[in-house]
Amino acid sequence: MKRWRYLLNKISWALFTIIFVIILNFFLFRILPGDPARAGVRDPRLTKENIEAIRVRYGLDKPIVNCFESLNPIKLGSCTVNPLDTQFFIYMGNLLQGDMMISFHTNRPVTEILSERLGNTILLIGAGQILAIIFGVLFGMFSAWKARTAIDYGSLTISLVAWSLPTFWLGVILLFWGSNHGMPIAGMSTPGMSSYPLLSQWGDIAKHMLLPTLTYTIVYMGEYMLIMRSSLLDVLSEDYILTAKAKGLSVFQILKDHAITNAMLPLVTIIAINLGFTVGGVIQIETVFSWPGLGMTTVEALNRRDFPVLQGAFLLIAVAVILSNLLADLAYSYLDPRVKTE
């Protein structure tokens, strides 16, 4: 029973956070300076009528919310308008139907653009995250097991350096190196590849993925290594490890059967919390390698002041991070029997 209450608690908290983000996202773009319509279409030849037409098209002519005509500059309006006819509720209503307006720049629905790009980002994060976790955990384990030896100090130093590297700079350096060694320098596939058989198409994508994934792995591996090291050191000084040793288990058995699971518990939480920061790294990597994912979309939208896309991308990223945090909580409750049955 306790477990269900725990899960319910976590789920409702995630929902609350998502609603908070949606509201923040809506008002952020209306409180801060810059008329969305004019910022999006910066053409001096536009007449007043044209601008008004654009405003009508994007629904910007409606009051933002009851009593407020606009928030920047603050202009009070009638409080008796139908709430369903305000920008806020139209936005919410559309969002519920999966509709996130139309891009200022390409005229395509934002949902369509984002769903196209989302998969590419997940591919990159997935590959990088898996590699970073594997190598980070392995190095961290080794380092903790061989604590206070040259191996430990060596991998500590490497991790700290890797941690201090700005993601985009590492990407730039790897890209520079790769471009001199025949690696593809931009995008996720060679143009014209679509006429080739599927297998060589995949090979092509893998080749394009190599450097971005490597960047991701190096940057996040160091952190996982440090966390794993300190977590495992804590576990290895617990009494039950001494029990396991007294039971005549080998070092390998003790690590495998008694230490790793326990040491992984904090890592699960941190990996999830990290996903928030990981998104920051992915934006940089995608920009450097022109990887057509959410991050690049965000930066492009930013440079074109394409607010609907920017707003949509931000919302999608935030929701994804909140959901992965929730997932971590659920995984934690599954891994740690103390949560499961208390």
Binding site: F29, S164, P166, V172, D239, G248, G280, I283, R338
Partner: protein, 638 residues
């Protein structure tokens, strides 16, 4: 007058104490030097840089992306400017933004943390929930949106970074405030009616400050990284050439295609230098403020020192300990002699009591028997035999076959002696699988149930986790596990401390029963003489790591010869003489790193004379070799 003189000295000593420890932390020291050098470069930029960064009038197209040369040591950039000059002046921009942004977020985080921790209740709830939300929202996208919607200027960048990087600080400061709040002097200050502002300023802030310093180091590095990232993404102040901005221009304006690596490497090096310096400094400070021992149970133990084998006793013994000595290596100091020259024998079905105050080496001796000592511990003399095997000479692999199969251990307190994430039944089965490979795997669950029932735990608890057990159940489960492979010797280290009296009695009864039923030999470590009198065959009284007295239980109770044994018995209630006054031994056992030069008990001994303080007594054998006493008085009367 006096108080004024004392105060500054105290402050300096506190700083000197800190510096004394920090000085030896290479990681922190290197980090500090890296940071200071970067700050010096920023301050003395005009002196250090070879060119004036603002002069661009004589630049021609041929100056663009020139490789490093004698006129431009680090080459030129996309605008034909000297990279070294821009690098040096870039330090100013990057560091200024980093420090100011960090200052803002530390202020926000500090205030939130202190208010939440100090006031508690609803205020805390609201503030911390808000912090949680901010922690989940990905910060780079949010910063990008905020800056895109405002204007990319230095001030805006500082404000945005400062406004987003306070979450961790708020959490850390809150928990520190909570910890400080319940300390005595704060409670006292509240009791005498000190105002809240006063308490926060004078009592809480000084103790939160060290944590804020560590946080500051981390936040500055995050801020420097954030600024460079934003600039690289084209959201920096176009008029301020920070390292990130230099990279943005180089990357966006053809450094890649012209092969101008210097324009890409140099500014990045600056960022890495500052961030790495801050990271190292932060790690160093953390290590100094929260020192932790990087030791654990799997670190390789020191191999026993080979010593000449003493003659073994002729009897059929299961466990025989000969002149065993164990030291703890103490970096730079003389080793602590935790156990010295201990000998005893144990036969089938026998129960030996190992008695002494806390800190007299009982646990060390017990761990030493199976070579389970922590990495600083080392057997420096003597042997341990299990039947015909010399445990002190076996390899780790050979030893693993004796551990639990031949000799098993019931650990003290069993609270954490069971793995919290595996069921109790599973942990018992593990021992069987490990040591009895011929055991039919179908019968293992049955065997586990039998073992649990043997110690009075119902079968339905088999698949439960340790946290679902009560303290007494855990202790009994530990005993069940110790019996899983039918060992011949069980070492029980104070198996009943921290348990209530009823359960203590149950467990002792159980052990005694098993001894009679299975012919188990038991080494029973305890400081409870009542238990010893009731159950043991032999008693080894230890004091300060050495044998005080070793004899049959009757001899110990009726004819104790060592003053320590005598004093211990006086401290123990005798039911036949209920009116007798109980006495306790004044003083404390010796510290192992500062042992007295003579008899270790001499400082507390009521019968000590001059010789006791200078010469350590030998082990004297009385009544054949069945009664051993280490006391000068015995020699005198022999």
């Amino acid at each position: 007058m006096e108080a004024q003189i004392v105060k500054p000295t105290q402050a300096t000593t506190r700083f000197q104490d800190f510096w004394g420890v920090f000085r030896k932390n290479y990681m922190g020291l290197v980090g500090l030097m890296m940071l200071v050098s970067a700050i010096l470069v920023a301050i003395f930029a005009p002196v250090l840089s070879p060119y004036d960064p603002s002069s661009t009038f004589d630049v021609t197209t041929s100056d663009i992306y020139n490789p490093p040369s004698s006129t431009h040591w680090l080459g030129t950039d996309d605008a034909g400017q000297d990279v070294l000059t821009n690098f040096i002046f870039g330090a100013r921009v990057s560091l200024t933004i980093g420090f100011f942004a960090a200052f803002i977020s530390l202020a926000i985080g500090g205030v939130f943390g202190i208010i939440a921790g100090f006031y508690g209740g609803r205020t805390e709830e609201v503030l911390m929930r808000f912090t949680d939300i901010m922690l989940v929202i990905p910060d780079l996208p949010l910063m990008m949106v905020l800056i895109a919607l405002t204007k990319p200027s230095i001030i805006n960048i500082i404000i945005v970074i400062g406004a987003l990087y306070w979450t961790t600080t708020a959490r850390v400061v809150r928990s520190q405030t909570l910890a400080v709040k319940s300390r005595k002097f704060v409670l006292r200050a509240r009791a005498i009616g000190a105002g809240k502002g006063h308490i926060i300023r004078h009592h809480i802030l000084p103790l939160v400050l060290p944590i804020l310093v560590v946080q500051a180091v981390l936040v500055v590095s995050s801020a420097v990284l954030a600024e460079s990232t934003l600039s690289f993404l084209g959201l920096g102040d176009p008029t301020a050439l920070s390292w990130g901005q230099m990279l943005n221009y180089a990357f966006g304006r053809g450094a890649m295609s012209t092969g101008a690596w210097w324009a890409l490497v140099v500014p990045g090096f600056g960022i890495v230098w500052v961030v790495l310096g801050l990271t190292l400094l932060g790690q160093g400070l953390e290590q100094v403020l929260n020192p932790r021992l990087d030791t654990h149970h799997l670190m390789p133990s020191r191999p026993p020192v080979k010593s000449e084998a003493a003659k073994r006793s002729d009897e059929e013994t299961l466990l025989e300990v000969k002149n065993l000595s164990i030291n703890y290596v103490n970096d730079g100091h003389a080793p602590a002699r935790a156990v010295e020259n201990i000998s005893f024998t144990l036969k089938k079905g026998e129960l030996i009591g190992l008695v002494g105050e806390s800190g007299c080496g009982k646990t060390t001796l017990m761990l030493g028997l199976l070579r389970l000592l922590p990495s600083a511990g080392q057997i420096v003399n003597g042997q341990v035999y299990f039947k015909d095997q010399e445990l002190t000479a076996l390899s780790e692999t050979e030893l693993n076959k004796v551990r639990w199969r031949g000799v098993s251990i019931v650990f003290q307190g069993a609270m954490n002696a069971l793995n919290p994430v595996r069921t109790v039944g599973d942990q018992i089965a593990e021992a069987i699988i490990q040591h009895l490979p011929d055991f039919d795997s179908k019968n293992i669950p049955g065997r586990v149930t039998d073992l649990l029932e043997l110690v009075g735990i119902a079968a339905e608890h088999k698949d439960q986790y340790p946290h679902q057990y009560s303290g007494g159940m855990r202790q009994r489960a530990m005993i069940a596990m110790a019996l899983a492979c039918n060992p011949e010797v069980v070492i029980a280290d104070e198996p009943t401390t921290a348990l209530d009296v009823m359960i203590q009695a149950q467990i002792l009864e159980l052990l005694d029963e098993l001894r009679k039923k299975l012919g188990l030999a038991i080494v029973f470590v305890t400081h409870d003489l009542g238990v010893v009198a009731e159950m043991c065959d032999k008693v080894l009284v230890m004091y300060g790591g050495v044998t005080a007295e070793y004899a049959e239980v009757d001899t110990i109770y009726n004819m104790p010869r060592h003053p320590y044994t005598q004093e211990l018995l006086k401290a123990f209630p005798d039911l036949t003489k209920p009116k007798k006054k109980l006495s306790s031994i004044p003083g404390y056992p010796p510290r192992l790193d500062a042992l007295p030069s003579g008899c270790r008990f001499a400082p507390r001994c009521p019968a000590a004379f001059d010789r006791c303080r200078t010469e350590q007594p030998a082990l004297h054998e009385l009544a054949g070799d069945t009664h051993i006493v280490s006391c000068h008085l015995v020699e005198a009367s022999k």
